[in-house]
Subunit: 386 residues, 2 copies
């Protein structure tokens, strides 16, 4: 790590071309964070061993000291432990970053260096965070995969639709269910104000957005989570030393020297949002160095979790690396998303992070844990177990 990461970061931001729409973004962010600070949350863990519907209906109407428990019913068709918090205490807003950043090679940019990243991870995770009741700030690369749109046939959106006899829009039966579910889930997230989408393209835009979001979320304290799935460039050309025009191609081979991007994870943890729960990702193509690099990142940047994944099978399996050890997370089948289980387990980690593991609840055999912050203090109490 550099001797002075703060100084390097400051120099990076000074020289970066300023973000367009900065004021509008700042306004949206402030409103979003204010709406979701101190919000109620329900957590679902894949551990419940008894039938759920009755618990669910009990829970839905459970009032305790005037606070209505919030239950995300969609999760209750599979075994889980349910734990709900009332006002405050548990994280309510997660910032998900997604897709790859670009590094322009010319100021009037024609060529740039890019990172492989479809945005699949971030888009899928956003869906599962929303399903679990979080509000999500989705910082995404323009053109990358979007929540609820992952099922779309690549580049052939129009293949999903046809015109009926009365010129009404129809979806072939083969796709009707999936399209309707997507529209309905997406509209719900937007209409309930649970999803804020902020696009970027370059490394300059990405890091400025991340700084804005992190400083805006700092007021949430431990209610804020960062889930940094974006593939961020390691090397860049400082704006001032960049070619103004398109590099000429007629004059033989091209030599380029790239500088290292300052390690902003460090700044995020130390300065921008020191209380937040931070999850970062480590992608490698060489499995021999992957876990070792993930553990180094955990220590170096003070992350709570580093999710290690290999390019060859990133959709199938990831390893969650924490200070307590490694947990391998695989998807049960090709029809499932590994992100579903990953976010369940992150919620467990989060719970641990807040020292709710006194009762070792994840070892069972509890069926239900119901937590609530009755007095509004920072630490919710355990109210009921059965």
């Amino acid at each position: 790590m550099a001797a002075d990461p703060s100084g390097e970061a400051a120099a990076f931001f000074r020289a970066a071309p300023p973000l367009r729409d900065r004021d509008r973004v700042a306004g949206e962010l402030a409103g979003f964070v204010a709406r979701h600070s101190g919000k109620s949350l329900a957590f679902f863990f894949p551990l419940l061993r008894s039938p759920v519907p009755q618990l669910c209906s009990d829970l839905r109407s459970a009032k305790r000291d005037g606070i209505l428990m919030r239950v995300v019913a969609a999760s209750l068709t599979r075994p889980c432990v349910v734990a709900g918090s009332g006002g405050g205490g548990l994280p309510g807003v997660v910032c998900v970053t997604s897709g790859g950043t670009t590094v322009p090679l010319e100021q009037r940019c024609v060529r740039y260096i890019d990172n492989f990243s479809s945005g699949q991870r971030g888009a899928a995770s956003t869906e599962y965070f929303l399903k679990a009741g979080y509000a999500v700030i989705f910082i995404y690369r323009r053109g990358s995969k979007q929540p609820y749109c992952r099922f779309l046939p690549e580049d052939s959106f129009l293949d999903l639709f046809e015109l009926g006899e009365e010129s009404d829009i129809q979806v072939p039966d083969s796709h009707a269910a999936v399209v309707k579910t997507a529209i309905s889930n997406y509209r719900k997230a937007i209409d309930e104000g649970l999803l804020l989408k902020l696009p970027f393209t370059t490394i300059f835009e990405y890091l400025q957005l991340l700084q804005m979001v992190a400083t805006a979320m700092n007021c949430l304290g431990r209610q804020g989570m960062f889930y940094l799935a974006a593939a961020v460039s390691d090397f860049y050309v400082p704006w001032e030393s960049m070619a103004k025009h398109k590099i000429e191609s007629a004059s033989g081979p091209l030599n380029m020297q790239l500088s290292q991007v300052p390690k902003m994870l460090f700044i995020l943890r130390k300065q921008w949002a020191p209380s937040a729960f931070c999850v970062s990702f480590k992608l490698e193509t060489d499995p021999d160095i992957l876990l070792q690099k993930a553990e180094a990142a955990l220590r170096k940047y003070g992350m709570n979790v580093v999710v290690a994944n290999e390019l060859a099978n990133y959709k199938d399996v990831v390893v969650m690396v924490t200070s307590n050890g490694r947990t391998t997370v695989g998807r049960p089948s090709k029809e499932d998303d590994v992100e579903e289980q990953l976010i369940d387990l992150l919620s467990v980690s989060l719970w641990r992070f807040y020292d709710y593991n006194k009762r070792e609840f994840e070892k069972g055999p509890w069926e239900l844990i119901l937590c609530n912050s009755v007095s509004g203090e920072d630490s919710p109490e355990l109210l009921e177990t059965r």
Copy 2:
């Protein structure tokens, strides 16, 4: 230019990772080209000075020597000269390339160099080529803009839809017309077999596809057109000298040396499809060198037309550079596409290319030129003028 472009090209292809799905693509291509060889075509020029509907209905039913004239009625609401050809002689298939190619920096690719290109030009041009009656082979970058989808709000496809009370899919009134037109035009192109879409990502995939399409279209002779709007990398890392794994970021700044990509336009013109009508594009950010470079490309690669455009205003204005001089093409308003007029003018150039300009038809004041290849020879005859 290199002393031996053919040798360089051969070396490039030998070392490139082989195209996946090569056999499937070859089969689709052969079928598409066979279906459209010797096809009838109608051309529309923006020169007609009298009312159109009557001519249109006359034309639609015009039979001459057993060949039904094909008329694209959608074009006939605005002034135009109509010229139709019967079997053979005029180009019927255009290969449109679109979007930017990537250059991998690692064999198991995480990082790559990319070119700025939304694919807007290629997608819009494909729509106007289809409207003018051409069959289109659309070689496009994965994730780039698609024909008839250009109107979509970026990254928020689902914003276009909502669910009605009976859970039917609805489009808000504000977007209904544009979505329905898009679905209807797209379905028509697909159902009539007029559009073949072939995706690429890397420079290796792109050039292999272009070679396959060009050699498949060579049998069309002068009926084939190339409209090369893709932003093709000038520099690349030869596959064999590429890092196998992700480049380490911990070891200071990165030095890269890139080689020049062989100039395939030259090979396309000389070897792959020597009879085709070739249109290439030149994009620069510096207007001072743009036209001079476009003219150099025209001579060097034997193009029929080079379309010069600047990054700053590529949607508003282009300059068509031919051996006869320069023609500036601008869009009448922000609601129009510059591609519409560009493709009208290309059809005029094409006509000249085939030496149909004996009558200087584009100077008017003719209202209608109707051409047909009665005997099936290569050169259609002028049958009727009024």
